[in-house]
């Protein structure tokens, strides 16, 4: 990416509105949001609960569709997708990381990481290999056969990150990824995000913790369904500088 041509943005939201209910009881969760996120950006979306950031996360993650407005994910208009294609977009283009890890219970870490590849139709041998590589990348190469219940919260979240990254998605979408973790695990996860970002992947983190937002290159703040501020920060420290160099 030498800048010879301008890459299309990963996220392109134009006037996205989400209304729940109808008539007098209608709730405007999002009131016309415009947001463009370019490839390689590391964005933190902040806001109090009820500010609309979770609704944004659902729309960005193709788990929900906007009431009005247009949302292009990697150039694909998500409103035109049927249920099956939505599932495919989630599978190919987005890696999810949730607050509560959301690993499939009673299923080994290795199998959990293989799961998106299985739904993508990747062959077993290749799946094993790629899942093992993804686990190695989050530092859990030796925990593949462990069940989620045998792993600490931090380890479970790292397995979830490995699962999110194993399909090489264009966007890593994290919803309060450190909300259920202690401070040491939080640092581990955030360091991992820094590495991922340094690798050139686009990250969108939804959080209310300043500690998390500090790591991002760009912070978007929400209040009552609207963007109230959108600031880009100078990359923090040498690692971020290296990230810029790599890009």
């Amino acid at each position: 990416m030498t800048g010879a041509r301008v890459p299309r943005p990963v996220l392109d939201l134009r006037g996205v509105t989400k209304v729940f209910g109808a008539g007098d009881t209608a709730v405007h969760a999002l009131g016309g949001v415009d947001l463009v996120v370019d490839r390689g950006e590391y964005v933190a979306v902040m806001g109090a609960s009820g500010s609309g950031k979770s609704t944004l996360m659902n729309i960005v993650g193709c788990l929900d569709v906007p009431t009005r407005g247009r949302y292009l994910l990697d150039g694909v208009d998500t409103r035109r997708l049927d249920e099956g294609r939505q599932a495919m977009v989630r599978n190919r283009k987005i890696g999810f990381v949730f607050q509560s890890f959301n690993l499939v219970p009673r299923t080994s870490a290795q199998s959990n990481v293989e799961l998106p590849l299985a739904y993508a139709g990747v062959r077993l041998a290749q799946r094993r290999e790629r899942a093992a590589a993804a686990l190695a990348r989050v530092g859990l190469a030796d925990r593949g056969h462990h069940l989620p219940s045998e792993l600490s919260g931090g380890q479970q979240q790292r397995v979830a990150i490995a699962r999110a990254l194993v399909t090489e998605p264009v966007l890593l979408l994290a919803d309060e990824p450190t909300g259920a973790l202690d401070s040491r695990s939080t640092r581990e996860v955030l360091d991992l995000f820094d590495d991922v970002s340094a690798g050139g992947r686009t990250i969108l983190v939804i959080t209310h913790e300043e500690e998390v937002a500090e790591r991002a290159h760009r912070v978007v703040r929400f209040r009552d369904g609207h963007i109230v501020s959108d600031e880009r920060r100078a990359p923090r420290g040498a690692r971020a500088a290296a990230a810029g160099g790599a890009a």
């Binding site: 659902n58 495919m88 999810f96 998106p116 739904y119």
Partner: protein, 422 residues
């Protein structure tokens, strides 16, 4: 995502909760095993009856008296030579009688050329045999002619058979079945030959012990006594009507012809037509048909009771699958979030339901086959391959049918709501 993947997930789902899986499959197991065993019992009993019928010989006909036609038609019996019983003429119904003369007439080579042998039969009921302090209640005490032994394919394992002289001489001699002989003289019963046994106080000399017929079902075929009809009429039954006439046709092919000839002879003797005949003729085929249809009804009845338990098992599968889907709502949400399509989820849960019923079906077949090896209420079950296939097929179909609704419910869950589910 292929079927193998879905199967892998399904197996994992089923094995995750072994106790629940075992109990759910138990329902299917019992249903399948019940179908197999009950159908086998039905088949077994019909096979047993068929076997005993086939022993009668395929060219044997039995003529029995039956309630005759109604109306003013008086029964005119030619009571020559023989000793016909009381005929109540003029009443609206009359008791039909078969006489020795009827039997005699059937031997006429010109009127009934296809009849080979004829044996008149009288039977005495609840005859008590005593010998040297031992007593035995004979279930079948038969007075007949020596030709009966040929018709019925009977022989003696020791002693001598009945002869024409025994008949004409009205000799009080008897052949006894082994069950009777064993009870009276102990041991293998063969020592009964030559002994004089009191039958209801009348002494008959045992001249032979009949060869074992074995027992079919609850009836002991060896609990019988055969004596010359003449002597039995003299002593035990009196000179009333015959209880039946056994007729042997020339060969298996002429049974129908022989039956027609018998009807002609008896119709003219009894002054009746075939429509209001006062006797009935049982041929082995019609008997077999009657027995077969009865036992089929019996088998169907048993099978439908078993099918109900299979249905209950299927509802059990559905119930547990609904619980499973509710329990694993969150897991379904996760799977959908990371790219599972509707079909993937349907496939996984449907396969889980089918696995439960498949497992139950296989176990049910094994239990059913094992259970059918034992004798049940005196019947040796005969497993029919079709009942095994049917029970197994229905079990798997049940899983498929009852799994469809829960699986679709799982697939229809919206990922955001499923993920939020606690």
């Amino acid at each position: 995502m292929n079927v193998r993947e879905s199967a892998r997930f399904a197996v994992r789902g089923v094995t995750a909760n072994p106790m629940r899986t075992a109990l759910t499959t138990l329902g299917i197991l019992i249903g399948v095993a019940a179908v197999i065993i009950l159908v086998a019992v039905g088949n077994g009993s019909s096979a047993a009856v068929k076997e005993s019928l086939s022993r009668l010989g395929s060219n044997t006909l039995t003529v029995q008296a039956s309630q005759g036609g109604t109306g003013g038609r008086a029964g005119g019996f030619g009571g020559f030579g023989g000793a016909p019983g009381e005929v109540s003429s003029g009443t609206r119904t009359r008791t039909a009688e078969l006489t020795l003369d009827d039997a005699e007439a059937l031997t006429d080579a010109t009127l009934a050329p296809h009849v080979l042998r004829v044996a008149p039969r009288v039977s005495a009921s609840s005859v008590t045999a005593t010998y040297d302090g031992a007593t035995h209640t004979v279930s079948t005490f038969l007075g007949t002619s020596p030709s009966y032994l040929t018709i019925n394919d009977d022989s003696v394992q020791k002693g001598e058979t009945l002869t024409a002289e025994d008949w004409t001489g009205r000799r009080r001699v008897a052949l006894v079945g082994s069950s009777v002989a064993e009870d009276l003289v102990g041991g293998d019963g063969l020592d009964a030959v030559g002994k004089t046994v009191q039958f209801d106080g009348i002494g008959f000399t045992v001249v032979g012990v009949l060869t074992d017929k074995g027992s079919t079902g609850p009836q002991d075929e060896d609990d019988r006594v055969i004596a010359p009809l003449t002597a039995v009429q003299d002593t035990l039954t009196g000179y009333g009507s015959l209880s039946a006439i056994s007729v042997q046709a020339k060969d298996a092919d002429s049974v129908a012809t022989a039956q027609a000839e018998i009807e002609d002879v008896l119709n003219s003797r009894h002054h009746v037509t075939s429509d209001d005949a006062d006797y009935s003729i049982q041929n082995p085929t019609s008997l077999l048909t009657a027995v077969t249809s009865t036992s089929q009804t019996f088998t169907v009845l048993l099978a439908s009771v078993a099918a109900i338990s299979l249905l209950v098992g299927g509802i059990g599968v559905m119930n547990i699958m609904l619980v499973t889907v509710t329990e694993r709502t969150r897991e379904i949400g996760i799977r959908k979030a990371i790219g599972a399509r509707r079909g993937d989820i349907v496939g996984q849960f449907l396969l889980e339901a089918v696995l439960l019923s498949l497992f139950g079906g296989v176990m049910g077949v094994l239990v059913g086959l094992a259970g059918s090896r034992f004798e049940i209420v005196g019947v040796r079950p005969v497993v029919s391959a079709s009942s095994v296939a049917l029970a197994f097929g229905v079990a798997v179909g049940t899983g498929l049918f009852f799994g469809l609704y829960p699986a679709n419910r799982a697939a229809a869950l919206r990922p955001i709501e499923a993920l939020r589910y606690e």
